[in-house]
């Protein structure tokens, strides 16, 4: 596929923005590692051979009775020395570099929370789970949640802002009043009430936060459209008979995109922060879920174990800074006046 000259230029500007480029590479690494969390940090071998058959336990469910009729018919516990021995007798196992999942409780570690050691590079938390494994899974959750919330909220926000700015008048008036009332809703109270009725899952939490976070972009896009609607090029498009939606999409939206892109990294990092803070307060993901917020909360409860605090701070701060650096570079590369 050949890129158009425009995209080549944008890409070249992005590459020239060193900080953004390095951040993108870092983010790509973090993204790939965290998306492949199952194969990097798991308490199951990701590949094994048993009696001439190849298995992928990381994504396959294999009953314990496959290896020994005396074992339970539930999924095999590969950390159990007896299971290990039974498999090793007739085959081999390939373990991921971190042989713990986010919910694996390490029984043979020192008193939890244990300080960093060769086996646990970031130590263990208060329930004796490997911190590094939890960070990797936690990043995956945060990134997916952040992206999901940002993308859907931005689309809704841009459409709402565009309609308000383009039509103006009464449409704008009513929409603005609605937004004022809606943004006055006590989000946190509603969330506490919600979490007392149902246990919030990933999707419920996403949907709920979406109800309130789409308004960030509306104001910016609305202002941009209000400004542009009386410019001559929009008038010229009207004089050509261009339909409204096409004027909005082709003529006005590209101008609002810079303002939008400037906001995107902040919305993304806001979403990550929001999830982390809800988890910290205990209204977020169900207990036990690998979340960065819970790590912060554990760090607060265990000040004698500074590795928890440092890990939480560096992970959360690092991911937010990286996202903002990337956003800056994207914004510059979309600026047509930059060469």
């Amino acid at each position: 596929m050949r890129l158009s000259p425009l995209w080549q230029r944008r890409f070249a500007i992005f590459r020239a923005h060193r900080r953004g480029w390095v951040s993108l590479i870092l983010f790509a690494v973090i993204f790939v590692v965290s998306m492949g969390a199952n194969f990097i940090a798991n308490d199951k071998p990701f590949l094994m051979e048993y009696r001439g058959h190849l298995y992928l336990p990381a994504i396959q469910q294999i009953s314990g009775q496959t290896f020994d009729p005396n074992f339970l018919p539930t999924e095999a516990d590969y950390t159990n020395p007896q299971v290990k021995a039974a498999i090793r007798a007739h085959g081999w196992m390939l373990w991921p570099p971190i042989p713990f999942s986010y919910d694996t409780i390490v029984w043979n570690a020192r008193l939890a929370p244990a300080p960093p050691s060769a086996e646990h590079p970031l130590g263990t938390d208060e329930v004796s789970r490997d911190v590094l494994a939890r960070v990797i899974y936690g990043l995956r959750l945060s990134i997916l949640f952040g992206f999901g919330l940002t993308i859907v909220a931005s689309i809704i926000g841009i459409v709402a802002g565009a309609v308000q700015g383009f039509y103006g008048g009464t449409t704008d008036l009513f929409f603005q009043r609605f937004i004022e009332i809606w943004s006055g809703m006590p989000q946190l109270f509603l969330l506490i009430i919600l979490s007392s009725i149902i246990a919030p899952s990933f999707w419920i939490l996403l949907l709920f936060l979406l109800l309130f976070s789409w308004m960030t972009l509306t104001g910016v896009v609305r202002a941009e459209f209000l400004r542009a609607r009386n410019l001559d090029y929009v008038r010229a498009a009207r004089a050509l008979g261009v339909p409204d939606w096409r004027i909005m999409l082709r003529h006005m939206l590209p101008n609002a995109m810079i303002a939008t892109l400037t906001f995107l990294p902040f919305i993304l990092s806001d979403s990550v922060t929001l999830l982390a803070s809800l988890d910290f307060l205990g209204f977020g993901m169900p207990p036990g879920a690998p979340s960065l917020g819970e790590l912060v909360s554990e760090a607060k409860d265990n000040l004698q174990a500074p590795w928890l605090g440092f890990t939480a701070f560096i992970t959360l701060g690092g991911i937010l800074i990286i996202l903002i650096f990337i956003g800056e570079a994207v914004r510059d590369s979309f600026d047509p006046r930059k060469s």
Binding site: P5, L6, L231, D232, Y233, R235, A236, A237, R238, A239, L240, G241, V242, R250, H251, P254, N255, M257, P336, R337
Partner: protein, 534 residues
Amino acid sequence: MTLLSVQNLSLSAAHKTLVDNISFHVEPGETLAIVGESGSGKTLSALTVLDLLPPGVTRGGGHILLDGCDITAATPAQKQKLRGGVAGMIFQEPMSSLNPLQRVGKQIAEAMLLHGKFSKNTLRSRVLDLLREVGLSDAEHRMDDYPHLLSGGQRQRVMIAIALANNPKLLIADEPTTALDVTLEKQILDLIAREQKDRGLGVLLITHDLGLVRRYADRVLVMDQGKAIEDNSAEELFDHPQHPQTQRLLAARNFAPPPPLPNAPVLLEASNLSVKFPILRGALRRKVGEIAAVDDISFNLRAGETLGLVGESGSGKSTIGLLLLRLIRFEGTVLFDGHDLCRLSKTALNVLRADLQIVFQDPYGSLAPRLTVADIISEGLTLHEKHLTRAARAARVAAALTEVGLPSDAAQRYPHEFSGGQRQRIAIARALILQPKILILDEPTSALDVTVQAEILELLRSLQIRHGIAYLFISHDLAVIRALAHRIIVLKNGKIVEMGLADTVFAAPHAAYTKTLLAASGLNLHSSHATSRL
């Protein structure tokens, strides 16, 4: 003693020479005009006098002596004294040069206080005297107004009052009338000329308009691309221009009228057009009256002819252009091609839009900044000629670009890569690609340099002859109207003041207002045939 002497001045930014070794001087009581097109370095040369260069521009060399003080060696404190104290400055845009949040009287008083020449308790009466001197009517009340309550001409008078507040010896006027109507332009320049006489000021007048210079300058320095190409007394320069660029600048404002048009069928008939805006008052925004931007106007337009709409800002001329395209609400009937544009449904109107196109004034605002030139020009085709293949569309775009005199590789570039004149060509190509029958030209040349203006007018004229398009040409500038219009309508406050054949109106105007406009425009109607380029 020479008031201002600039010798061998060179300015550069990022290794590009902006001003190349120019010298000029101003004596007390004399007006020196620096004339040039945009980018010729005339404004920068004036800004150096007070060391007000924008960041990034550096002075390569040269000596500047202002009232005996070497500004290149002056300390910041000395410079502060010179600015406003010895030399006052008037800028182009009176709206943005006044602080919108302070009363105008206070802004003048501040200028006086800064130099400490006057005691505080006499300030108010001094400000009042000054405002009366610059001819601001009702000065006692006006001095307590905010700038947005004043008209453009009044604001420029206030700017002049600020510049004169400390009795300077030199007045630097940087395009003081570019943002104003022709009749106001004359008033403001007359005011500057009167002040110069009364106070014995030296005046440095920066302008792109050679026509102004003839009436107001003693000596003229013509600049082109950073170089001084001609320096002479005004009379000598106008009678015997030496440099070809000067000759071009002089010729660019003198257009021959278009060839007469044989009887052509009427294409568009507008009758009893009115556009009214409600006046809303009070907390409940009740309607207390109406302002008519366009008041009961009727005219017709024949195929292949140019109808000129002349008037000052606020006369409703642009509103008529928008109205014909039904971009604003109006009353009246517009018959075009057997249809009443006012009553057509939106879809039916969209079909007709291909025949009625518009070119706007501001070449920077009229092109979508994030679309390529090809996208901009071909938009009409994608809507009105949907059957075209991609290749056919590209061919039509290339043909349209050639027709308006742009290279075909322009298609893949963005509007901001083009100059003002080229952008206006793109806007014309966008309108032309649909082969319209009527083209509304809303001040298409007002934002352009004079020589570029002449090129665009030439292009428009040849397009009209080739395709037989009817133009509705809207302008405040009688010189460009002269170049294209077969018939003329003079508008004032939304009403028709005079209507007739162009030759008749220019030769023997009836209405007093038309006479004022003609006088203010400084058009030399008799010599225009001899020096014409078109």
